[in-house]
Subunit: 254 residues, 2 copies
């Protein structure tokens, strides 16, 4: 993850896999240790106040040593972002893929979203890094974009399979053409073969809404806005994703 001056000696296309040296393995391990320590710090300090020196202390090295691994605090943040997005993405992909009956789109929908919430509850600091307030003065670079899309890609895959099987959504209210507003999302889905060209705009709108609602629900839970209104956040979450499935016209497996 984002080494500094020392790019892994790029294996030329046809070269045999070189034996990894002691140094290389140590480097990987310590990089991981730094990231782990930083993630733990994130649960109690917020990304904006994340202290490189504190992380170094936790790992047991002097603060300047961290600079052998990350060129700056911002680069460490970027690595954390990529790591967290990838971990979340992998968890969701795995949980969704574990549903053996691929026609059970509601089951897949539930599995995917439950994995998102499960990860978020288990890693609130990382969740806040990804979906909380942005870090002031820090702009996430390009490398974070692709990992950030993994969840929505899984979700779009489920929705596509469901519509191919002929699901029905509620009629959209109003009469305007909403396609231009969500054109970006349509383009994204089509580029990756996640949606047929003739997919109705309403499907895209409802998928975006579902996506936003789920993350909104998790944020409200973790950030304390459901206290007093909802007693069991896990039950409430299931209530929400079931209604979202219905609103998208996903139907229970036969």
């Amino acid at each position: 993850m984002t080494p500094v001056d020392h790019p892994a000696p790029a294996a030329s296309p046809a070269s045999p896999p070189r034996a990894r040296t002691v140094r290389e393995r140590a480097r990987e391990q310590i990089t991981a240790e730094i990231l782990t320590a930083a993630r733990i710090r994130l649960t109690e300090s917020g990304p904006g106040e994340l202290s490189l020196r504190a992380v170094a202390r936790d790992v047991g090295m002097v603060s300047s040593a961290v600079y052998r691994y990350f060129a700056s605090r911002d680069e460490l943040l970027t690595a954390l972002l990529v790591l967290a997005y990838d971990e979340l993405g992998a968890a969701v992909e795995q949980a969704e893929a574990a549903v053996t009956d691929r026609h059970d789109v509601v089951g897949r929908w539930r599995a995917a979203w439950l994995a998102v919430r499960g990860w978020a509850v288990a890693h609130p600091g990382d969740y806040a890094l990804l979906y909380g307030s942005p870090v002031p003065g820090y702009a996430a670079p390009q490398v974070t974009v692709e990992p950030a899309t993994r969840v929505i890609v899984v979700i779009l895959g489920i929705v596509m399979d469901a519509t191919a099987a002929g699901s029905r959504m509620p009629e959209p209210p109003g009469s305007g053409d909403d396609a231009p507003v969500v054109a970006g999302a349509i383009g994204f889905a089509q580029e990756r073969g996640l949606m047929q060209a003739e997919a109705p705009t309403e499907l895209v709108v409802r998928t975006l809404m579902g996506w936003t609602t789920v993350f909104g629900t998790i944020s409200f839970e973790l950030f304390g806005h459901l206290v007093g209104s909802v007693s069991r956040a896990d039950d409430y979450f299931e209530i929400v994703i079931d209604r979202l499935a219905a609103d998208l016209g996903l139907t229970e497996a036969d």
Copy 2:
């Protein structure tokens, strides 16, 4: 808001309104100046990194002088929280009350939520303070609770009026009894006379979902998660609130 050692000389129940002294007026004005400066800082620093010294500098006073107004950084944060919640609440109440046809529940629904988004877009720093990641190490005290409820109280009022007029919601999926999960919200609404005792659980669930979806949508917009998917965030927002109104069974005015 939250003076330190100098509580306003509590007007005893029946005493006539005393003439305000020069000092009292200066105090109020400078308190406001400090809060304003802090809010501006919040747009570029995040609440966790909000610097008392920077705020003092902006106001043109020495850092220790701020302690005449707020006993600590945390107290300043609390005052900001209350101020922002109250400002947002007032904006929403006013926008909703401005809809003259009180039977037009969809119009009132739209007016209220558009006011929320309008305020959020105009005050992104304050919005992040209220609805972004919580400030690590800071626990919002009791005084912030009531101001925080003003938006949902307005929304519940609209929904109540709509159901009194006989609106229809989609059938809930599943068959369990969801009432215990949202018992807190039901109690809240009933205590304030915002919902009849026989209001269906599904109505409460859908109202909570709408509430969460709207704030989720605004957070996604302001925190950068809609970039690339949605081209015009204001249009998209209207698309969302219209669908939420439909999901709640709110119907256009006759």
